[in-house]
């Protein structure tokens, strides 16, 4: 069984402790989100899990066969057009060029890009289109584990929903797992089987929330109700420092 195991993970930048004793396990087919305020070490944790940073203390054991990463700001190669950008992941793992091109074109159409856009460079794309390319690049490789680094934060609500739907579909059809970091609780509730609450200074997990409702059954009412519930939670209030605001 493929899984991502994180045990007693602690990380420092210089003398500052960023993460303290993080433990969790992500199983095949699950969506795990890590929710917390900005600057709480979420990105560091994700980078450690994805192998982009070296683990210093504790251990991370990733037995997933393949992984992909969707970044917050797209990170497209500015000198490659849309299709070539989508294809990089396929080419990197050794797919034949013609196969990679075909797969990339298919997924680009599925993600709402048009044939006229295929030859465009990132400079000519809108923010939303860049993010579609970013997602297509990650999902075209059909990873068994997908890392998401707040990729929805700058998108309008329509595009967000569209991309949620693509993710939920991939999870269902290919049994894909997702490790997802976000500061948006509603996003976490909509997509996750389990939410870990990461409190800052240093980052440590204070609480876990589980959701069993099937993801395609989670409508707006469900998400709003659960969000309202979770916002009453003492740990959530403390972690996001909601009590210091006199907003009633």
């Amino acid at each position: 069984m493929e899984s991502l195991e994180v045990k007693h993970l602690t990380h420092h930048f210089g003398f500052t402790e960023i993460l303290h004793d993080i433990n969790f396990t992500l199983k095949k087919g699950e969506v795990l989100s890590i929710v917390g305020p900005s600057g709480g070490g979420k990105t560091t944790l994700l980078h450690l899990c994805a192998g982009l940073l070296d683990v210093e203390e504790g251990f991370v054991n990733n037995s997933f066969k393949s992984t992909a990463f969707a970044f917050q700001e797209g990170r497209l190669l500015p000198w490659k057009n849309v299709i070539d950008n989508i294809a990089v992941g396929l080419l990197a793992r050794g797919d034949k060029k013609s196969v990679a091109m075909q797969k990339s074109k298919d997924i680009a159409l599925k993600f709402g890009l048009e044939e006229d856009d295929f030859e465009k460079f990132p400079k000519d794309l809108s923010g939303g289109m860049k993010q579609r390319v970013n997602f297509a690049r990650a999902l075209v490789t059909k990873p068994s584990l997908l890392f998401l680094d707040e990729p929805f934060s700058a998108l309008d609500i329509g595009l967000k929903r569209e991309l949620y739907a693509h993710l939920i579909e991939s999870c269902k059809e290919d049994n894909m797992s997702i490790l997802f970091i976000t500061h948006d609780l509603m996003e976490g509730i909509r997509l996750s089987d389990e939410i870990l609450l990461l409190k800052a200074d240093p980052g440590h997990i204070v609480k876990t929330f589980k959701y069993d409702t099937p993801k395609d059954k989670r409508d707006d009412v469900f998400v709003y109700e659960e969000s309202a519930k979770i916002l009453q939670d003492k740990e959530i209030i403390e972690t996001f420092e909601l009590n210091s605001l006199e907003l009633k």
Binding site: T67, F71, L77, P78, A92, R93, F121, P122, K123
Partner: protein, 260 residues
């Protein structure tokens, strides 16, 4: 291969876009003629006379020999700068210490007037090819070095991370992530290095040798032969414009299509 075909395909359209440039050159020649009518033939020969002299010169074997000599010196000097400037610049860019150490040296090289280098080179190498080539290298090497250094220093860490997250093999990292970025810095540096080499070679020849276009220019000056001097200048400018606008600019446009 595909890339070069695309350059060739877009070439006619590029040439067609050159009418504005041609109009501006013609306007410049018109002003030149006004200058000739105001100041007389000795100070500023008319464009017509200059072009006639040029035409006659281009038909004499002797001038072509001089052009060959100058071309040889400029290409050897520029070639050396290109090779060492690019390689050393890349290496310096990859190491923080090396780039810190090289900065003041580059400032010295750039800040020292080429004329001072010529004097030193004449003492060290005497009057000949070496002096000219040395001066060319000293003048165009730092430009290329800095271009390569900047290109490597400014590599985008976010893109490197992206490449790592998709497990790019090393050759893909180089070809798809590093090279296009570095090239967008180093190529313009090559172009300015070439322009510099072509200017410096003439100056060095004028002062330090008895052959080449620069020496011809010195002879024209001593004989007050203004038409010949201007014809030589026309050769120099014409060849530089040819290299820059007909060869380098189309390549640059194709390479930098992705730039905003």
């Amino acid at each position: 291969m595909k890339f070069f075909l695309k350059i060739l395909k877009d070439f006619p359209a590029y040439l067609w876009s050159g009418w504005g440039a041609i109009a501006s050159i013609l306007l410049f020649i018109a002003l030149w003629d006004v200058g000739n009518q105001t100041y007389g033939n000795l100070v500023l020969p008319s464009p017509l006379e200059t072009f006639k002299t040029l035409y006659a010169m281009l038909h004499s074997k002797d001038v072509w020999e001089q052009i060959d000599i100058t071309l040889y010196r400029a290409s050897v000097g520029f070639g050396l700068s290109l090779l060492f400037g690019s390689v050393l610049g890349l290496i310096a860019g990859f190491f923080a210490t090396a780039s810190m150490m090289s900065r003041p040296i580059v400032t010295i090289l750039v800040g020292m007037p080429p004329i001072a280098w010529i004097v030193l080179a004449m003492i060290w190498f005497g009057m000949g090819d070496e002096t000219v080539i040395f001066t060319v290298v000293v003048a165009s090497f730092p430009i290329i070095f800095v271009g390569a250094l900047q290109g490597t220093r400014t590599l985008d860490g976010d893109l490197k991370e992206m490449a790592d997250s998709f497990h790019f093999p090393w050759y893909m990292k180089f070809v798809d992530v590093y090279f296009p970025h570095i090239f967008s810095y180093i190529f313009p540096a090559w172009v300015s290095g070439l322009g510099m080499a072509w200017k410096i070679v003439i100056m060095a020849e004028l002062l330090a040798t008895s052959d080449g276009l620069g020496a011809e220019l010195a002879i024209a000056r001593s004989q007050l032969d203004t038409p010949t001097a201007l014809a030589l200048v026309t050769i120099m400018i014409g060849s530089l414009m040819f290299i820059e606008y007909i060869i380098l600019e189309p390549i640059k446009r194709e390479v930098e299509l992705w730039r905003a």
